[in-house]
């Protein structure tokens, strides 16, 4: 097999999808479709595009330490899994906390978290929470209430600029969050302050809890809306790791925040799921036959190199 970064990145994305399907069958329910849509983006960010140092977190995280401010618990310590914070290191700031399982799986596939810890997902007392917060592996912010990450990233980015730091703040967000008014407040403020150290990667999978975004709340045209708010916008195929890296790392957006709209498929990699669209927010399997079908798919699912 070829050892190019693209193949290695796709392999990570494949591992993320497979691991979350396995958990979905095991627990009979998980945020599977979100994982399928964003796996290539997360794999690209973690393995290729971002300057992230080695994880500073424990492969097996301890129990949930409780909220910051008590017993010496500091804010944002889940970020330790993304490497030490330094002046030139990038930050990845997770906005849609419902994607937590995909984050954890990406950390496992990139050697930052143990598989055992992954399987403590959504168990009592674990910091590997279903909807992650800043004590959860990979999380620097508490963003389960949507639309707050862009603004927080703006504050972090402005502070880092004041300190002379060169690392970027890269926000991973979902398209549904564009419905929150604060997203646009944040974008106008980033543009006002010329925050070109902020990159916002949006997983545009076109799905939200109640169904397709086009039916629930029309967001398009996202690109011209974001441009009108002062961002530099690039539209890419969110399953094309080369295009993703090109957009994130090789776009000239001096003086403006960069928004990378990653158009994706929420059934990517598992064609069996296509017929269930647009009801994919939290995937459960109904019957023993259905579970067996997906188990059979999982057992025979192998990495096929370029054929994503």
């Amino acid at each position: 097999m070829d050892n190019s970064w693209k193949t290695q990145t796709r392999k990570v994305a494949f591992g993320v999808r497979k691991r979350v399907l396995e958990l979905t069958i095991k627990n009979n329910g998980c945020y599977l479709s979100q994982t399928l849509s964003c796996a290539d983006l997360l794999a690209t960010l973690y393995t290729r595009s971002l300057n992230l140092g080695p994880s500073q977190g424990d492969l097996i995280p301890g129990p949930n330490p409780g909220p910051p401010g008590h017993n010496g618990v500091l804010p944002g310590h889940g970020a330790a899994y993304n490497g030490a914070q330094s002046a030139d290191a990038d930050r990845i700031l997770i906005s849609p906390a419902h994607y937590a399982v995909a984050i954890y799986a990406t950390l496992v596939e990139t050697g930052r978290l143990s598989a055992d810890a992954f399987y403590s997902f959504n168990t009592d007392g674990s910091s590997v929470e279903m909807i992650g917060a800043e004590h959860s592996p990979g999380f620097e912010l508490t963003t389960g209430s949507f639309g707050q990450a862009v603004s927080q990233a703006g504050g972090i980015a402005l502070a880092r600029r004041l300190k002379g730091e060169t690392g970027r703040c890269v926000v991973f967000m979902s398209d549904g969050e564009l419905e929150e008014g604060q997203t646009w407040e944040g974008l106008q403020c980033l543009a006002h302050y010329g925050a070109d150290n902020v990159v916002i990667c949006v997983d545009v999978n076109g799905m939200q809890c109640d169904g397709a975004t086009a039916d629930q709340m029309q967001l398009e045209p996202i690109n011209s809306r974001a441009e009108a708010f002062g961002a530099h916008v690039v539209v890419v195929d969110g399953h094309d790791v080369e295009a993703l890296d090109q957009a994130i790392n090789h776009t000239d957006h001096k003086g403006k925040p960069l928004v990378v709209l990653c158009y994706t498929n929420s059934a990517q990699g598992i064609p069996l799921l296509e017929h269930r669209k647009p009801k994919l927010h939290y995937v459960r399997f109904g019957s023993k036959e259905e579970i067996a079908t997906y188990q059979d798919f999982l057992d025979n699912w192998t990495f096929e190199g370029d054929a994503q």
């Binding site: 909220p67 401010g69 508490t142 209430s145 707050q148 927080q152 504050g155 402005l158 502070a159 604060q182």
Partner: protein
């Protein structure tokens, strides 16, 4: 007691405070002169950030800057700090226990701006937020003391501030102490706990009531959360007739409720009269008019004291000390424009 006036005490105090603290930054919600952070803006333009009228973004943004080691002092009217951006206040600031200072002006009925501008339930809304500290200013010395008091507080702080022509009730050198009520008069008949704007009103009535032979143990309360000041506990347990609280806030969830909780927790079996705004929204008018209408002024205090002791004191308006209560309409044009 003094009835002097301090003009815009926060404006210069903020500049002086920040002079030796390079981590102090200011975010303003398009109310820079109106919240007296304009002198800071002019003195340290590189540390001042206008955030426009977008409070949800402003609060989350402040949280982000606090995570990176800065101390953001977020300036706007009290009402805009919590009512619209309550979720952001909690998830972007309070949950991570970040050192963001929410500097709110025109609290309660202090504004002629009407219902949209009146933060009549802010203390209730913020007292139940974990990690939050709440300080309320009743005079210029409070205003000038608070910024330094925040230095020792690692988490978020809400400062319920006064602006413009602010009464100087306490000696400027006698700085306010964190979590320690200020003794204004000593007595054994009634314990009177007042906060914020109401302390000036309570002082107007204090001498007149005591002249009728009713002694008042009067404390000015500036720390509303935490609420475990031993001098308050001692005071509420002692009076002959009972305890009266007085605040520029609804009767639910503010000073009166905090005192009730303290008395309950400690088994203090005294009568408690809570003077505050009834369960109603208010309209726009001058501060004296509104304080009288909603019965949180000196006249209301006298009526409640009479009810508590069961006799009329026959105090007339002429008996009330002429402590100034400035009509906001008489304040500077610049501030009037910024409502």
């Amino acid at each position: 007691m003094s009835s002097a006036i301090a003009n815009n005490p926060h404006a210069q105090n903020l500049v002086d405070y920040a002079a030796t603290r390079p981590d102090v930054i200011v975010l303003s919600g398009d109310l820079t002169v109106a919240t007296e952070c304009h002198k800071f803006r002019d003195a340290y333009p590189e540390r001042f950030f206008g955030m426009g009228m977008a409070e949800q973004n402003m609060l989350s943004w402040a949280g982000g800057m606090a995570r990176e080691g800065f101390k953001p002092f977020v300036h706007t009217f009290s009402v805009f700090l919590y009512r619209r951006p309550y979720d952001q206040l909690q998830m972007s600031i309070a949950y991570p226990n970040l050192p963001v200072r929410l500097v709110g002006f025109l609290p309660g009925l202090d504004t002629p701006g009407g219902v949209t501008h009146q933060s009549i339930e802010d203390i209730a809304a913020l007292r139940c937020v974990p990690n939050m500290t709440i300080l309320e200013a009743g005079d210029a010395t409070d205003v000038e003391s608070f910024l330094e008091l925040t230095d020792a507080i690692p988490g978020p702080v809400y400062l319920r501030m006064l602006r413009g022509e602010v009464p100087r009730l306490f000696d400027a050198k006698d700085r306010t102490v964190f979590n320690r009520a200020r003794s204004l008069s000593q007595g054994t008949d009634i314990t009177l706990l007042s906060s914020g704007r109401c302390t000036e009103e309570a002082l107007r009535a204090n001498a007149a009531i005591q002249a009728k032979g009713i002694s008042l143990n009067h404390l000015h309360v500036s720390t509303l959360k935490p609420f475990d000041d031993p001098s308050i506990l001692e005071a509420v347990a002692a009076p002959k007739y009972g305890v009266v609280t007085m605040e520029n806030h609804v009767r639910t969830g503010g000073l009166g409720s905090a005192v009730a909780e303290m008395m309950t927790d400690h088994g203090v079996g005294k009568k408690l009269v809570r003077i505050g705004i009834q369960d109603t929204y208010c309209s726009g008018a001058s501060l004296p008019f509104l304080m009288h209408k909603h019965e949180i002024d000196a006249v209301a205090l006298i009526a409640q004291v009479e009810a508590l002791i069961g006799e009329k004191l026959n105090i007339t308006a002429d008996d009330l000390a002429s402590v100034r209560v400035e009509d906001v309409k008489a304040r500077s044009t610049e501030q009037l424009e910024a409502l």
